[in-house]
C-alpha cells in the first residue's frame, strides 16, 4: 500500500504546509475536530504531538500545550482512541511526533500496529538514535508501513546528512535553527547557504523546514528554500488564545498562506 506521505510529495513539490498540534490540546477530544478544520483550510499534512511530561526539545508554548493536554487526561492510549475515526474524515497524511519514552512504554510493536490501524503514516521521534532505529524500529516501521522521518539541523555535517537521507522515509525534517521549538529566529540568512549545500547533494528525500516558522513571511521564505514548512508553536499560541476552534483554524491558515501584509510583524 502506498504511503500517504509519498502520495503527497509525488503530487506536490512546493509550498507544502504542514501543521503541528499537540494531541489532546486545548480540550480533550479536540484533536479530531482540529484535523478536520485543518483539512478544510487546505493544509497538506499534519503532525500530532504525543503529550509528554518532559519535552526537552520544546520551547514554552509547546511545553505548556503538553501540560494542558496531560491535565486534560490525555494519554497515548486515549489519543489513539480519539483518532479512531481519523480515516473516515480525511485522506491527508498524518504523522505522530513525540519522545521515545512514550513509545517504549506503549510497547514498540503495539505502537506501530496501533498507528497502522489508526491510519497514521509517519513518525518523528527526535530523541531516537539511528542505531536504535536500525536495531529495534526499522523492521516494525516497514511491516506497518510507517515512515520514520529524521531530522537534520543547520550544523549537521554532509556525511551525516547523507546517512540520514538514506534512512529517512517520506521527507527530511530540517530544523530551521539550532534552537528549541517556538524560537524567534525565523528563517535566518545562514539557511540559504545550508540549503544550497543540500540542493547540491541531490538527496533522495524532499525537505520540510520546521521550528520557529511563525507567519506568512517565514512560511514564504521557507518555501522559497525547501519543499515546505511545518508550523507548530504559532498555531498552538493561536489555539491557546481562542475560546473555540471554530473559525480560528481557517483564519490562521489563511494568514499563513496569503502573502504577508506589512502590519502583522
Amino acid at each position: 500500500m502506498e504511503n500517504r506521505i509519498d502520495k503527497l510529495f509525488a503530487a506536490k513539490k512546493r509550498n507544502i504546509l504542514s501543521v503541528f498540534v499537540t494531541g489532546g490540546f486545548p480540550k480533550p477530544e479536540s484533536t479530531l475536530p482540529i484535523i478536520e478544520e485543518l483539512d478544510r483550510a487546505g493544509v497538506d499534512m499534519i503532525e500530532i504531538g504525543i503529550p509528554f511530561s518532559d519535552p526537552i526539545a520544546d520551547g514554552p508554548v509547546i511545553q505548556n500545550s503538553n501540560e494542558v493536554a496531560l491535565e486534560n487526561g490525555t494519554s497515548l492510549k486515549k489519543l489513539f482512541g480519539e483518532l479512531k475515526m481519523l480515516r473516515s474524515l480525511t485522506e491527508m497524511p498524518v504523522l505522530m511526533m513525540g519522545y521515545l519514552n512514550s513509545v517504549l512504554q506503549f510497547g514498540l510493536e503495539n505502537f506501530y500496529k496501533t498507528c497502522y490501524n489508526t491510519g497514521i503514516d509517519g513518525l518523528i521521534l527526535p530523541d531516537l538514535p539511528l542505531d536504535e532505529y536500525f536495531s529495534d524500529h526499522k523492521a516494525l516501521a516497514e511491516k506497518y508501513n510507517i515512515h520514520l522521518v529524521f531530522m537534520i539541523s543547520p550544523s549537521t555535517s554532509p556525511e551525516r546528512i547523507r546517512l540520514i537521507d538514506q534512512h529517512s522515509r517520506g521527507f527530511i525534517y530540517l530544523v530551521s535553527s539550532n534552537a528549541t521549538t517556538g524560537n524567534d529566529n525565523g528563517v535566518k540568512n545562514e539557511l540559504d547557504q545550508k540549503v544550497k549545500e543540500l540542493n547540491s547533494m541531490n538527496l533522495n528525500n524532499p525537505i520540510i523546514m520546521g521550528f520557529g516558522i511563525k507567519g506568512s513571511k517565514d512560511f514564504g521564505r521557507a518555501c522559497s528554500l525547501v519543499n515546505g514548512a511545518i508550523i507548530g508553536s504559532a498555531f498552538i499560541s493561536q489555539l491557546t488564545e481562542s475560546a473555540t476552534i471554530e473559525g480560528v483554524v481557517s483564519d490562521f491558515i489563511r494568514s499563513i498562506t496569503t502573502p504577508k501584509n506589512i502590519f502583522q510583524l
Binding site: 497515548l76 492510549k77 512504554q105 530523541d127 538514535p129 539541523s153 549537521t156 534552537a179
Partner: protein, 400 residues
C-alpha cells in the same frame, strides 16, 4: 566486572545517547574527545594539582570510633564533606571545566538540586573566568538558600525554573534546552552520572578519585585495601559511582547504594527510583525512572534536594540488574535522625543527602570484623534550616 561503558556508550542495555539532532555535534565532540583529553598527561597533571591544592584532596578517611562502637564494627567515613565547597561535586566540576577549556567553550551551564553542584560549577567558572549560568528549581532555591547566595557571590547567574515540581528534574530539562539554544559556544557541566553518553562514564571517572584514595588509605590504616562494605547515597549516583569505581573487580566488597524513599516507598512521595521505577528514557539516557503507565515521568519527592530526582545513572541500573550492588532506601525521618546522631556522636554535621548513607547502617547487619566505609558526600551547612525546623517540630511533639 567492568564499571565503564562499552564502545557504544552502554552499560549492558542502559545508557546511550537519546538526544535531539541539534545536540548531535556537541555530544559527538565529547564522545570522541573525552577519553583522549582525560588520559593526556598535561590534563592529568593540572587536574591532580587542582584537586590537591585547590580542593584539598586527598580527603581524610576517618575512623569513626563512636559510631563504630555503636554498631559494633569498624566504620570509616570518607570525608568528601571536607572538600572545598563542601561536597564531592567539585571533583567533577574541576574535571569538566578543564575539559571545556580544552574544547574551547566560552560559556558554562549547569543544573543543580541541592545547590552543591551549582556552587561547585560557579566556583570553577570563577577560577577559570568563564560565564556561568545555573538552572535551579524554584522549590530548591527556597530550601537551599545558602547555596543560592554562594552562587551569586561567585558571579554565577542562577535561573529559577518553575516547571513541573520545580526541582532537579525540571532544572535539568531547562539546562538541556539552554544547550540546544546555545550549542555552539556552550559546555553543559552535568552534575551526576546521568545524561547522554559520555556523561555517565566521564563523571564516574572524575569521581573515581574517591575510591582510589579509599584503597590507598585503607591499605595504610588497616593493612588491606579492601573494605567489606562501601555505602553511598544515590541521587543521580555520582558520589556512589566514584566510591564504587575501583572496587569493580573486588567481588568481596559489598557495594551499597542508598536511595531516598521520602515519606516511604508506598506513600506516593518517594525518590527511590529502583523500587518505584522501571526502564525508560530520561534526560538522554536509558535507565530506570519513575513514571506512570503512559510513560509520563512522575514527580519525585525527598526532603533532600540532592536526591529528589526521578531517574538514576545507567551504571546503577546495570549494577542493580546484575546484582553487583545492593540498593537500600531510607526515609526523610530516618535520614534526619541519622544526621542528628552523627552530629552528636562524631561532631560531624552531614549533608541531608549523605545522612541517607549513614542511616543505612540501621538496615544492615555487621560482623565485628567488618570494615565499613561510608562515603560522606557533603556537609550539612546548607541544611541547617531543615535540621532546625525538624528539631523544633520534635520538641513541639514532645510537649504535646
Amino acid at each position: 566486572m567492568n564499571f565503564s561503558v562499552d564502545e557504544r556508550g552502554y552499560y549492558g542495555e542502559y545508557g546511550g545517547a537519546y538526544i535531539p539532532e541539534i545536540l548531535f555535534n556537541n555530544i559527538e565532540e565529547l564522545q570522541k574527545n573525552y577519553l583522549n583529553i582525560m588520559e593526556d598527561k598535561c590534563f592529568q597533571k593540572e587536574f591532580e594539582s587542582l584537586l590537591r591544592h585547590y580542593v584539598g584532596r586527598p580527603t581524610p578517611l576517618y575512623l569513626a570510633k563512636n559510631l563504630s562502637s555503636e554498631f559494633k564494627t569498624t566504620i570509616y567515613l570518607k570525608r568528601e564533606d571536607l572538600n572545598h565547597t563542601g561536597a564531592h561535586k567539585i571533583n567533577n566540576a574541576i574535571g569538566q571545566i578543564l575539559l571545556a577549556k580544552q574544547l574551547g567553550k566560552k560559556r558554562i551551564i549547569a543544573e543543580t538540586g541541592a545547590g552543591q553542584h551549582g556552587v561547585a560549577t560557579a566556583t570553577v567558572c570563577a577560577l577559570m573566568n568563564l560565564e556561568c549560568i545555573v538552572y535551579m528549581g524554584q522549590a530548591d532555591i527556597e530550601r537551599q538558600a545558602p547555596n543560592v547566595a554562594r552562587m551569586k557571590l561567585l558571579g554565577a547567574k542562577v535561573r529559577p525554573v518553575n516547571s513541573g515540581s520545580k526541582t532537579l528534574k525540571d532544572a535539568t530539562n531547562e539546562a538541556i534546552r539552554d544547550w540546544i539554544n546555545n550549542a555552539g559556544d556552550t559546555h553543559y557541566i552535568i552534575g551526576s552520572v546521568v545524561g547522554p553518553h559520555p556523561y555517565p562514564d566521564m563523571v564516574a571517572r572524575f569521581q573515581s578519585v574517591i575510591s582510589k584514595e579509599m584503597k590507598d588509605q585503607l591499605l595504610n590504616q588497616t593493612g588491606s585495601e579492601l573494605p567489606t562494605h562501601v555505602i553511598a547515597c544515590v541521587g543521580g549516583g555520582s558520589n556512589a559511582a566514584g566510591a564504587f569505581f575501583h572496587f569493580s573487580e573486588n567481588k568481596t566488597v559489598k557495594l551499597i547504594g542508598v536511595e531516598a524513599s521520602g515519606k516511604g516507598i508506598d506513600s506516593g512521595h518517594t525518590a527511590a527510583t529502583l523500587v518505584a521505577g522501571r526502564p525508560g528514557v530520561i534526560h538522554g539516557s536509558k535507565t530506570y525512572l519513575m513514571q506512570n503507565e503512559d510513560g509520563q515521568i512522575t514527580e519525585p519527592y525527598s526532603l533532600s534536594a540532592g536526591l529528589d530526582y526521578p531517574g538514576i545513572g545507567p551504571l546503577h541500573a546495570y549494577l542493580f540488574d546484575k546484582g553487583r550492588a545492593t540498593y537500600l532506601h531510607v526515609t526523610d525521618a530516618e535520614a534526619l535522625d541519622a544526621a542528628f546522631n552523627l552530629s552528636r556522636t562524631e561532631g560531624i554535621i552531614p549533608a541531608l543527602e549523605s545522612a541517607h548513607a549513614v542511616a543505612a547502617l540501621q538496615k544492615l547487619k555487621f560482623e565485628k570484623s567488618d570494615v565499613v566505609v561510608i562515603n560522606l558526600s557533603g556537609r550539612g551547612d546548607k541544611d541547617l534550616d531543615t535540621y532546625i525546623n525538624y528539631l523544633n517540630e520534635k520538641a513541639d511533639g514532645k510537649q504535646d
